[in-house]
Amino acid sequence: MKRKPGVLLIGLGVLAFVATMIGAFRLAVTFDQRLAFHPPISERGEAEEWTPRQEALEQQRQEEEEAARTKPYEEEEYRAFPKVGSRVAIWVVAQLHLLFAAFVLAVPMFAVVIEWIGIRTGDKRYDALAYEFTKLLSVSFSLTATFGAGLTFMLIALYPKFTNYLMHVFSPTFLPYVLLFFAEAGFLYTYYYGWGKFSPKVHLFLGIMLNVVGTGIMVIANAWLTFMMTPNGVSESGALISTWDAVSNYTWMPINIHRLIANVAYGGSVAAAYAAYQFLQAKNDAERAHYDWMGYIGNFVAICGLLPLPFAGYWLASEIYAFSQTMGLTMMGGAFSWLFIIQAVLIGNLFLFANWYLWLGMGRIQGAERFRAFIWPLLTIITICFAIWATPRSIIATTEEVQAMGGSSHPVLGYLGVMSAKNTAVNILILTTYVSFLLYRRSGKIPTVKWAKTGNLAQAIIFALSAATVIGYGIAGYRVDAATRIGFSRPQVGAVLLAMLLVTVIDVLMLRGAKTTDTRWGKIRPLSQYLLIMLAVTFTWLMGLMGYLRSGLRLHWHVFGVVRDTSPDAFTPTLGFATQVVSVTVLIFFGLIGFVFWLAGLSGKESHAGEEAAAHAAHPSPVGFDPSPAGATPMSSAGGSAPAASAATSSRIETS
């Protein structure tokens, strides 16, 4: 009651102020008119006093009006985007859309798996973790949709004719896309807001459907962009013959697979970066323990995705080569060959950071000291493989250096620049990362079975044999034709996979009933958290760079060999320019995702601390998540049922 007159007075005051201003203005205008100069002679009729200039102006105005009225309608092919040009504008928006989309597709995959582990083990902390991952989704989902809409409008506005052509080929896919998108929104929000409100089975089902629908969306969108690169199902002049053929073009499946896996790896690393960000801000040990654990799981997911990626990448590359030798050569030997050196450096960094993080993680485990000695040989192997993987085939050199080398490839290093060497290096990198992981897993356990010594020996022999197979095929690859050489990558991959499988089986059996020591979550050096963040940034940058590769490979075509790009932007951006655009895009992305992180951090702050304390009270000695190495078997793309199962086993062992 008391405040009412106050409000009234303020209102009146504002009104009075406005009224005074209007009055003052009127007054000023009136005075101005009074004081202004008026010609002494009375005004004359208008018509007679027109100067020729005025007449000409009037005529021109009429002509313009006439022209505007009868202007014919013309279809525009392109419109320009101010300042940066259409191409860069579309590029940045598409890349941002893709980055958010990849994240939104990836997180539900492991959120559901973690939720399932929680249900299986009855450990509430998994449920809380899955929920925390999911919290990152809703804002990201809106951002994905926003950028998607932006991309669509910009395509229509800037590339109307070409967009029209894509509609011509793909119109039957649009409705399903929209419907799936609708379903995605439905599942996502019920999954998120219905947390704890449904029975676990129903909720899990929602999560699985979210994944199915999300993958469907990606697969449809992939059809459009792979069609642009490797068109199929259209006549020479571009007329549609079969939409299905257009969808199932050469690179559709390889990109589906490569992206699916890459998304998981990327999503895991971004989620780990979120955990790192929260870890570094944590106020107490409980929070630190929680976010350390979350970051560890995120990184684990990222490694699981990282290991099979090179294989998927080679498959994609060989399909591109098979579709068009020209495109294959442009990619591997031509204009883009230098991009692969950057790619190699980035991927090498991913492996290095991931391993390094695991080594640092040993700090949280009592009894890990005995594995310290393994770090430097592993590091040496990784460095050597990294160096081979990054050795350029044709080297940037001064004229003097070229003359000394006798060509642009070095007589010794030239051998490291070809596919045999690279394949071998990457397989060994994978094997090494796996060993790091195994050591990490081992560090908290002392096997009690009698045959532990034999088991260790067997594992060492398996690794040695597998490495020997990989290297042997690598060397043999120099003396055979290209097709056989590409074929050699199969036994190489096979040897690596088999070794990982066998070693895992031995390990699981051997660690049955092992003595375990504490894992002190949160007792890890902050450096490790910066590594997690760098991992996420590297991944994002890599994605942007590879997106440039995919779309740059088309050179001056919208649809390779079918629809030519005749816009002023039809050039292929240079690598230097592309890296700048990609870097700016990555900065924008991290600005936005930082906002998402911040929001996600806000929503759970108070309630979270209570939950955390409860979880810790329930588990006086933190058992720690212990993903079995089975989870790292790359090809178990089914979605990590293995880690779930064995994590369940190991917690059962530990609690018994």
């Binding site: 430097w376 085939r393 642009s408 070809v418 055979v480 060999g561």
Partner: protein, 273 residues
Amino acid sequence: MEQFNWWVIVPVFAALIALRWRRTSMLTWFAAWWIGMFLVVRYGFTVPVPMSVVKLYMGLVTAALVAYVLTDAGRIREVTEPLAAFMTERRYLPYLAAVALFIPAAVAFGIYRDMTRVPQPPSFARTIHPATPAEPIDVHGTSYDLGTADNPYRELEETDPAAFKARVENGRKIYYENCFYCHGDVMAGDGMFAHALNPIPTNFQDPGTIAMLREAFLFWRIAKGGPGLPAEGGPWASAMPAWENFLSEDEMWNVILFLYEFTGHRPRAVELH
């Protein structure tokens, strides 16, 4: 083996191994490895490794060493403590002053050296294997689609070895009549004209050349030569002649058979789905 400077590599590794038996501080160890690796990369090869690659490798070595040190709190202390002591303790003052003078002096020397260096022509990252033209090419009136074309005589290898052999022999004749001046008598890219040319003739023994390519690619390069290189194959100074002006289609396909036969490489097959 003569491609390595053993008198650099062996002592460096011997010294590094010896370092293991002596208790040295982490800092010494770090420096020793860095310098050792630099020596091996820079001087360990008979044909010097270009600076761009040396930098790449040393970047990796630095990253690995840093990772090694940073993985262990004890090692970090071992590295930082002497450095901190060096900068803060009184007894090191003269040395610190020397370092403080040395750094600008080194920069100045670097600038001096750069300014007085004999100018070099700018380097150009030539694309060795540029993409083939997407449109079919025309040779002696025949049109070849390079995406699908293949050596018409390759199949003789299985169906009629005698005829195949005859064609390879014909290729040998063509090679030693036309190509070996540049590409060398064992195809190592070191023929007698090679030293005058830039870019130098391709070394076919190298696993990164014809072993990676399809025969149609070679046919295109042989028929159209340096003048037929596309834009990205610049700087277009290749001395490789356009052999369509001198040889028949048959002869070009035959010499290709010989290139593979002689080097033992196999061509990349045409992959069709």
